[in-house]
């Protein structure tokens, strides 16, 4: 049971909020109308629309772009899985303590330093063209495979550092508790540290995933036709930039679910644990 005073207050707040919703709606409509009018009546608009937003060309090039995007997607999924596995391995190797593991730690650190510094495009050329040129037996020759290997090598270095940051952010008291229970290093990592570390760095991991979505297209320098290359082919023959605009939009659409997935996962993780 609420008092009359409170009832009045609630009524007032309700009417105020109704008013602000209407105002927000009206102002959005007016703003949108003004923006659209301003853009479409400006002198250069027909030329811009023809050059960047040509519906006919967009429709015509869409199948080729989707074909290319399908290649991007396949490379993306396979590479991401491999990257996560390799990066986790490297990060964990760097946590091994004791002099006997020194060469392993040094190798892991060296790997990270080298592949984080090496430009991806150089790595692509070295592995995509240079490696097969050596004609050593057992080396694959498929440009998509080689490009994928280059992507995995370079990105694992970045993601390994993300994992390492997560591992180091787990409070030392957790390690003390695990140690006091008698858990060895491997079990402490697997059961106590990594689950917490991975949850903490999920936003950073998903960030790198979105970056990978775009870098996947670079394998096109090795000859495979991905969405960007498909756009380039049609754009260069028609002198119209609409294919690029459409390809760009496709990539943006691809990135949106990843962003929302990241939000959902971290919300669920923080709801489940206070850490």
């Amino acid at each position: 049971m609420i008092s009359d005073l409170q009832r009045d207050r609630l009524a007032y707040r309700r009417s105020r909020s109704r008013r602000s919703v209407l105002v927000a709606f009206a102002s959005t409509v007016v703003f949108a109308a003004v923006a659209v009018l301003a853009v479409t009546s400006s002198p250069g608009w027909p030329r811009v629309r023809q050059s960047f937003f040509n519906a006919e060309i967009a429709w015509r090039t869409l199948p080729a772009l989707l074909d290319g995007l399908w290649l991007n997607l396949r490379v993306l999924v396979v590479c991401e899985v491999l990257i996560l596995v390799l990066a986790l391995g490297i990060a964990v190797l760097r946590t091994l303590r004791g002099p006997v593991w020194f060469p392993v730690r040094a190798l892991a650190t060296g790997y990270v330093d080298f592949f984080r510094g090496l430009p991806l495009i150089i790595c692509l050329y070295l592995i995509g063209f240079g490696l097969p040129g050596l004609r050593l037996s057992g080396i694959p020759n498929d440009p998509v495979l080689l490009g994928g290997i280059a992507l995995v090598l370079v990105y694992s270095a970045y993601v390994a550092e993300v994992f390492r940051a997560g591992i180091e952010s787990v409070h030392p008291s957790q390690l003390a508790a695990a140690k006091s229970l008698g858990l060895g290093h491997a079990k402490t990592m697997r059961i106590v540290v990594l689950p917490q570390a991975v949850r903490r760095v999920l936003p950073a991991l998903l960030n790198d995933f979105v970056a990978l979505q775009k870098d996947c297209g670079l394998i096109s320098v090795l000859g495979a036709v991905d969405a960007v290359r498909a756009a380039q082919i049609t754009a260069s023959s028609s002198y119209n930039f609409t294919p690029y605009v459409v390809a760009g939009l496709l990539f943006v659409l691809l990135a949106i679910p990843s962003g929302r997935l990241a939000d959902w996962v971290s919300r669920r993780a923080t709801n489940r644990q206070g850490a």
């Binding site: 063209f129 498929d142 000859g223 495979a224 002198y239």
Partner: protein
């Protein structure tokens, strides 16, 4: 958040379309000669100098040692010959480097004339001006002797082969016209394509015929020319000098090229630089 994105997008669009386009006036058809093309009347980028553009790097037999200034190589020689016809001494010729794809984009140019094995096509004419043609070109297919493509004698056999070509070129168009069973591999440059050919990542490469001869004789000795490809729509493919769309220089430059053809200079230069481009079988 969405509203903010909408605002930014609207502002960007406004900025772009608010720049009123400068409409380019169409050129008068046909080459012109005589007084209208005197050196002092030509509106070149730099007064008294003729600026030629070409790619970085450039290859034989079109240029030698990547040095257009030497005048060595078929296209370098043609460029200096055209300049001479317009009254420019070799010292008045300036070279600038423009990537292949950038040279034929619409928009302002950093060169007066670009010379870089550009075939005259209707699509490209929408974006740039071409001079009269200075060379008739054929597309050819090269393959390592060990490749299955090397033994191909007909177009039908070539369809089964993994082909490659540089992006945005008429060589790529010619490869596409074959309707091969495997997707054509597309490379940023012919250097990348040649590397792929050497690795066996593609089985054959489509290039223009003179380049094909140079590559198989000097660069990839164990590659061979499989044959010439038929022309698209039966029309001969021809190289033309590229100028900015609606450039005032176009009639004069065309006139110069026509002059070189009629006085036999073009034929002489072809003989000097492209004679080794012998005959390759025409594939059907």
């Amino acid at each position: 958040m969405l509203k903010k994105k909408a605002v930014m997008a609207a502002v960007a669009l406004l900025a772009v379309s608010a720049c009123a386009p400068v409409d380019e006036t169409p050129t008068a058809a046909g080459p012109a000669t005589g007084a209208a093309c005197a050196k002092d009347k030509l509106a070149t980028l730099a007064a008294g100098k003729l600026t030629f553009g070409t790619d970085e790097p450039v290859y034989q037999p079109w240029f030698v040692d990547n040095k257009p200034e030497s005048g060595q190589g078929f296209e370098a020689a043609v460029a200096y010959a055209v300049a001479g016809k317009l009254g420019y001494a070799p010292a008045d010729v300036v070279w600038t480097r423009v990537p292949f794809n950038a040279a034929i984009q619409p928009g302002k140019k950093a060169y007066d004339v670009d010379v870089n094995e550009f075939s005259i096509t209707d699509e490209r004419k929408q974006a740039v001006d071409f001079s009269s043609p200075y060379y008739d070109v054929a597309q050819a297919v090269i393959a390592p002797k060990s490749s299955p493509a090397a033994a191909a004698k007909t177009l039908a056999e070539l369809k089964k082969v993994k082909l490659g070509a540089q992006v945005g070129t008429t060589s790529y168009d010619a490869a596409q016209r074959l309707a091969p069973e495997q997707q054509v591999a597309v490379y940023n440059t012919n250097d990348d394509a040649k590397a792929a050919l050497g690795n066996g990542q593609i089985q054959a490469l489509v290039l223009d015929l003179p380049t094909a001869f140079y590559v198989t004789s000097a660069e990839l000795p164990d590659a061979t020319i499989v044959g010439q490809l038929p022309r698209g729509e039966g029309k001969p493919e021809q190289f033309g000098l590229v100028l900015d769309k609606g450039s005032s220089l176009t009639p004069c430059v065309s006139g110069a090229v026509d002059g070189l053809r009629s006085d036999g200079t073009l034929a002489k230069l072809e003989q000097e630089w492209l004679a080794t481009a012998g005959n390759a079988p025409e594939l059907k």
